[in-house]
Symmetry: none
DNA sequence: AATGAATGAGTGTTCATTCAT
DNA sequence: TATGAATGAACACTCATTCAT
């Protein structure tokens, strides 16, 4: 009785917090299962058990299985959209910023290995709205790369280049670390991969006259290795 | 009388041909459905109906749904593994051969749009053997690119570069035309995309001293948007 | 308020009871159908309909059709393992106890006619564990007969005899009332059959010197057909 | 041409023989499979493969699967109906003939182990006519026992007994060697089993005054073993 | 807010049977 | 006779979703 009255606002906040925690608990459980099996092979019953709740409870937070899948994927992408920019804040020099952004992106992909695969595998099961949310989130993760590119272009450090296409090339380089990990894992370490891709990316973009200035960002400057 | 004897081989050949046609008919029907809905949302009943045969007949040619899915994906990749090399036969000059291979690859991806997406979406439902088959087929499609790169490197036309990594970057450029088509389709035509990627790829690899020689392979070097 | 706390155990008990009732409901329905058609000709759908529940619900209580079949058979045998001993409690004299046990056994077989046939027909579809459960249950039903035999042997009322083999002969006499009912039903009533078998069993076992003492357990010693 | 005309009769006979061989080939193949798996778990395709013929050919000789199953069971029973009497021909003395018949019966059951189980498991899948055929065949196998009993009764060697019931008891003794083999195999050899059952059967039937005369047919005459 | 028993449409798979060759 | 490709109805089993408690 007393609680109901003078604690309305705190109560609402607490409720929202509890609700968010539940949602996180559920998407985490779902993600854990979906990463090894694919969303279609994960039943709501299994998610409930993994999360330690009842089936019915999931439906209090997600209207359908599709919504739950969307929740999982959007969760992964949102996390990436936060962590990629965070990893590239303090660098001033646009070229070093670009290299830094690409490195950060690849490292985040490495952390989110399964999450990235998930987006490629499961998106198509979503409705139009969910699909759009995912596309938006992906574009957001590419922003730091594109921003660094634009700055470098503004300062005439790089050749004129289609920023959109090249930006997505860089994004694919990062995603490829997850998508083609089965191929690279045998003879390429994460650090090798990052160094090679930075080297390739800068080779493609940087004007030749600045090459010496950023020589440390290139692999193997004198002789080829293969 | 005589037919019974010397017609054994033709008979076997005819049977093999009929069998191959059936398999093609079935994987084609399955592919058509799976491309729009994802393999898990396509029932064997639906495939049977699409192919105009009975359910039981599918099981005469594919032991399980998983085998059918494998058949579809391997079919797509095999076709790519044939058509990409075919598109790069007659070119002598390694740089032009590289450009030609990349162009051909992107165009084949454009033709096989849905098939490429299928590979990324459905592979994980396969058993170890099937997965390996797909990986092998993919590596085969990358071969023409890698070969052209090696030749160019041998002739010192390009900078030293990790051929494996760069080769897969090119493969990803091609795949990206399918994977990120939702992004590019608004303001990039296929020809634009090809031109830009060739330009970017050669910028990354070609030694500066040869740039003039292959100026026609670069997009607008002097003036460009932005 | 108080209910929440001290009602935990009653709640569990109630659930167990409900569960047991469901299991009984399902095995009963299954038994009814299987007795006339054989387990393989009874579909889970048919069982569901007969029981008035949904297919899915059966799978909440039985992991597979095989488990359901096992449940039915074990149910029948367990009932027999209870009712045969119950029918022979109060008799002191080992010979009369033996006769009584055989009579009770045959009468229970008569009640469980279909159930006995089921055991012979369906056991082989079970896994090793289920098969063992059934064998154990059968051996348990034979116990009252064997016990009576041992007592009679201890008191030198019967000739030395292999108790195991003779015990199973008696069990087969009982089972035969179900197995060969098609043969006996034309000219033998249940009571005739019981009397004849008791007479035969005692003739085989009882020492001649005690024959007069149990004369009432023999059929017509002096005059009989043929 | 010439063959067609003057060889009509031999041709028909040859055809009949070929047909009988085919039927035997098919029921043998079916029996081999059904014994380990139960008729319902054996497909016509599997029978065809086991027999080394096509599915269609089976339908030229058996109108349906049910007919094939009937063919198998009747085949087994017919063989038994031939071999049991054959094993008891030359014995004159009715008591020894009875013992001999029971022994032969048990030995034939031992040979036809799987076949006997088959009759109990599969008969119920047959139509009325097939069921009758099986019952008739079974009754025929019991005949030698019943005949020996009648002769012994005529010569007053055995007590008055219901020949029908007792005859079937003996048949069940024999069948039990197959039906309850899982129970006996651990501590009873075939020869033990035969000796025990003969002893029990004669104890039940033989008049006490003739016991000495056939003492060799009883196990353990002086003291009990168990 | 939370449970979990219950539903029932939908799926992959099998197999008796047919029939063109 | 003999083949075996083709059929399609039937089945065991799953799982998203609901709802009484």
């Amino acid at each position: 009785m007393d609680t109901t009255m003078d604690a309305v606002q705190p109560e609402q906040a607490a409720q929202a917090a509890r609700s968010a925690a539940r949602i996180r608990q559920l998407t985490d459980a779902a993600a854990r299962l979906m990463m090894s099996s694919g969303s279609q092979n994960v039943s709501m019953q299994a998610v409930a058990e993994e999360a330690g709740v009842s089936v019915g409870l999931i439906y209090r937070y997600f209207a359908s299985k599709q919504e739950l899948v969307k929740g999982v994927i959007v969760g992964v992408l949102d996390d990436m959209a936060v962590r990629v920019p965070a990893a590239t804040q303090q660098v001033e020099d646009p070229i070093r910023s670009l290299a830094s952004a690409l490195e950060a992106f690849i490292r985040v992909v490495d952390d989110h290995h399964a999450g990235v695969l998930l987006t490629y595998r499961e998106s198509h099961n979503l409705d139009a709205e969910g699909l759009q949310a995912i596309k938006d989130a992906e574009i957001r993760t590419a922003q730091p790369l594109v921003t660094a590119l634009r700055q470098a272009a503004d300062q005439k450090l790089i050749r004129p280049v289609n920023v959109t296409v090249f930006g997505y090339d860089l994004l694919m380089m990062a995603h490829a670390w997850a998508l083609k990990y089965w191929f690279f894992k045998h003879d390429t370490t994460l650090d090798d991969y990052i160094a090679e891709q930075i080297s390739i990316a800068l080779s493609a973009a940087l004007r030749p006259e600045y090459r010496q200035q950023y020589a440390d960002l290139f692999t193997d400057p004198t002789e080829h290795k293969e």
